[in-house]
Symmetry: D2
Subunit: 354 residues, 4 copies
């Protein structure tokens, strides 16, 4: 039986990608897509590629149809989810939040980095962290809560944290990473990462043929990555913008511990074992590095590894589509886990070859 | 009086950009542009934007016109310069080499990274390293040699080494960088960096909308950067490719020494003093990061700085045009220095605003 | 029961897109993908986005597995299909040819435009023209032939002819187009239209930030469009190249006959009636023009209309994905028709919103 | 002696390109660059590529420094120039207007297409049309008026009219074009043509990888082109947008008159004679078509020709940089003519080869 589904904030880039996935998902029935700004506009007017695929029009965030939804995705800016999630969870819904509001376990850290009070700290303990390959137990617990009629809340990992953590976690958890020294992460995102709002930064004529770093030493994904990988202030994270629509590449530099293997082959073997059975993560052969074009449009994550033996640093590179594995796809993957559906339901696509 | 000038390897991307600059340089008279592959073809046939600017046609590398040149630029693949430079220098010419053949002071290092014997090691001691902002004395000595009629050889720094070293050198020379720990450099280049040859990698349909790392732990600019900055095996260098024609951004992560200032303002002040009077380098205000679009088409280098105080790492980001400050423009800047011309002769352009 | 399927020439851009569609098609079982050049290479090595989706490797064009195929797609250069198709059809296979070899009904026209003899003229009478919206009867006859065990051959329309004819046919067939005067078609294609071969033309650094016309007055799609629309030498067709991977936009200028309506609304009404029930063609509301981004990745064709009342010319603009509706998708749509499958089988995707 | 120069509306795309050219122009001294929106902001803050090139900051449009300017460029939206130009001309300044306000000789036509009254119709008779290759006498008259101390006004041609008219005029003036039948012009522009304002249309994620037509049958350059070429309602003009920053390609389809030559060689000869001595226009050899990348950044216009002999239509294609020959460069070329400077002063650049 179809699961009645709503998407709050469906007109933004993550929300509309989620809409696209939900429309083709065999088990979901999309009944409400909201956007306060575009309420009343048919989805296929704003995004003409949806003509023929849906007759839905955007409604406001207080659309009563949401009350009847088993599953609600929140694709709203941070702080908005803080006010929406509690009520939905309380009435037993499964809520998958794509914002940053419930990602950080310590509300004080949230308040420091987001410069706003956390108004629903009691929900944090009940929140599953939505990065299925690394925190499957979180989602299993959310599934149990749902089964028990208590509602469930998943806080999906951000785009940079997803790619970075998938690249780093197997080494970190194997104890390959030295206890001291900076962990340097330099990542590159396509322009969809900057959002739908038309600004000087997203103007074609300023974004095209341009490369730049931004949010240096201040990007809000920093505490999230540190939390996932337990890095305790050692992370040096610099995101960059490049002239592509989608795609995110994270290059993670991990100082190796003294007892870690210093050859790529041994590390690769560990990574392959770590991700065995995961349908979305692919560890590439030695000497091969990932391309974002191989994963754009899909929920896949491709990982390549190399070891700098002189400096004893592991370089792990992960490519994802920032809007799919970094947002909408991962949200659906989390929903699938909580709802007891196959992991790949609605996500079984092959990347465009070109 | 005009300086008779030849460009060997003028049809490649660096060579043709050099041709463009030389044609507008007030003191150079371009008499020979060579390309074995395109010999006989007018420059303006291969590059229609040159129509009206020159009637020169490409000639072969053994064009006798080169024998009469005071100034010869070598824009040939590595190993080719090894065989060409000695004869030219011996007859008293000023040779500015854009290849890697004379950059590494230790021929054993060259042989290890380039997998080929260095056949002109005796020239190395007489070679000036071509990165004027950091090694002005090298160029002054070359100018003296030239004056003395002994010929001069300049080995221009590579594109990644230029951006990386300009970003790092002021901190390194000030003793701000810790003696231990990896120095991580992640850099991004436009596709001109991959050269003119048509390959799968440079095919529009594979390069467009794609981000990837390449040459991870193996890129040949690694020993060059280590030599410039005296890093002794501590460099972890990963270049990336992004879908732009030109532009190179290097993000340099420098662990700070215990007595270094840990605030960006103090470091910035040092950088500004370091580059005072240099017409091509601009240290940006605190909080501003460089964009490659601001320097594309020019010989400029823009540098932005931030400090990650928790991890005590200085993040220095430098943007250049890989074909200009990273190749042709720097070659002309070096030639200007050796020839006693104003630094900015032929290089005095404003970046396209959009 | 699955239809055993082979793709000859699967490594090119049309062939690999076809492979992608075939792998997700509910009724097809892909057993052979051939490429003489890449024989032995796994598909997922050449196109890493296919990892996890197929274990097939490319085989040579004479792969015996093709002999067992019910359905064979030919995605080979022209002349190659001439030699392959007859044998396959003779043994009863359904052959869908993406090349130009069987598109032109008059072999003399083929020989004039393709400068090569047509070696299988007897097959032409039995060939269905593969543009389902305009020639459904052709495909119905092919389906009957197949049912009768005689084999079937479909010659899919080219990319420019598809977009152009979909834009023009309703007006032409309604008698809206004047009997005299040139029909001017200016069309723009993304770079995938230039093929997979790495050349100067497809080099990122020459294709990016460039607009150009090509094949002016000589493009081989000219006689094909004239045949479809019965234009008898009145077509002036100029294709252009723009820096996008996919997408084709055809702007068709049709001089209106004296009794045609000269208002866009009346013409639109006729177009809507013409395409009623067709799942892939969408006639846009008055005042709205199509964007290729709305159809890229899909088999859709979006059409916008305007009338220049002063000059009495209908401007009909059609956007398609040159690799899908212009090649691989249309081939599958044709196969579906011949095989008695739902038109949209394997083609039911929503365009990426961004 | 330097000519004191001001640019009103210097922060938009045409205005800032004009600023760049003026700063390097040997005879102009730029004293005021205005922008009501950015007044107070240094040019090099808004456009970091100007750092080192100028210390000017934007001022408001009523900057008194404009009163002292010999030469004033107006790069403001239409209607704004209507109110600014008269006062400037009256006090004897040379005014070069880049807007549409004084291009159309008949104020009624202006009012119809721009839906606003023309408030300075008496200035129209004294206005020179700024397209130097086609209307040199206009500029000569303006130069005389200036000499006589009466002030001068030049209305520079628009971007599409410039490329289209340069492609068509030699044939039109030679009587090669039939007296009847539509003249179809399909043109493609880069996104700078859509202006600096950040909108959905100019958002990187909507403009990239997209091709579309716009302003079909309604674009305001239609009457301007008809006026220049005397086409009297026969023009069918459709502009298109493609994902490039700069560059404009106009494909002009001219029905040949019965006594026109129908071979490209004869027509080419006429074109070459027509443009003989013009430094910016280049008629390409038979079989060669222009690329926008060959003229981007320059004031050049490249023209290629082909004849469709069956349909008796001349296809003339012209490539320009919409911001230079289509705006700022042409404005400077016009100013040079009025001021008695060499045509190429400030405009003598070679296109980037790549």
């Amino acid at each position: 039986m179809a699961i009645t589904t709503g998407i709050v904030g469906a007109a933004g880039f993550a929300g509309i990608e989620l809409t696209r996935i939900a429309l083709r998902h065999p088990d979901l029935e999309l009944v409400a897509v909201t956007s306060n700004e575009l309420a009343g506009t048919p989805v296929s007017c704003e995004y003409p590629g949806f003509s023929g695929a849906t007759d839905l029009a955007f409604t406001t965030h207080d659309d009563p149809a949401l009350d009847a939804c088993d599953l609600v995705f929140l694709a709203v800016p941070h702080t908005a989810a803080l006010s929406m999630a509690p009520r939905l969870v309380d009435r037993g819904a499964t809520v998958v939040d794509l914002s940053a509001d419930f990602r950080l376990k310590d509300p004080a850290v949230y308040e420091r980095w987001y410069a706003t009070p956390h108004t629903a700290p009691d929900l944090l303990a009940r929140t599953a962290f939505g990065l299925p390959e690394l925190f499957p137990d979180d989602l299993a617990r959310a599934a149990e809560a749902r089964e028990a009629g208590k509602g469930a809340l998943v806080a999906c990992a951000g785009c940079y944290p997803t790619a970075t953590s998938l690249a780093a976690a197997p080494a970190v958890r194997a104890g390959f990473v030295a206890e001291e020294g900076a962990v340097v992460v330099d990542a590159i995102s396509g322009v969809t990462g900057a959002g739908k709002k038309a600004t000087a930064r997203t103007h074609f004529c300023f974004a095209d043929e341009n490369l730049e770093a931004y949010g240096v030493a201040t990007h809000r994904h920093t505490p999230e990555i540190e939390q996932i990988l337990d890095l305790k202030g050692r992370l040096v994270f610099t995101p960059h913008l490049a002239p592509a629509k989608r795609g995110l590449l994270s290059t993670v530099n991990l100082p190796l511990s003294s007892d870690a293997p210093a050859d790529a082959a041994s590390v690769l073997e560990r990574y392959r074992a770590f991700y065995e059975g995961n349908p979305f993560v692919r560890v590439l052969p030695e000497g091969v590095m990932p391309k974002t074009s191989s994963v754009v449009g899909t929920n896949g994550a491709h990982i390549g590894l190399a070891v700098n033996e002189r400096a004893r640093v592991l370089i792990a590179v992960c490519a994802i589509d920032n809007l799919v594995k970094g947002a909408a796809g991962q949200a659906v993957q989390c929903a699938n886990a909580v709802l007891g559906l196959p992991q790949t339901a609605g996500l079984d696509v092959v990347a465009a070859p070109v």
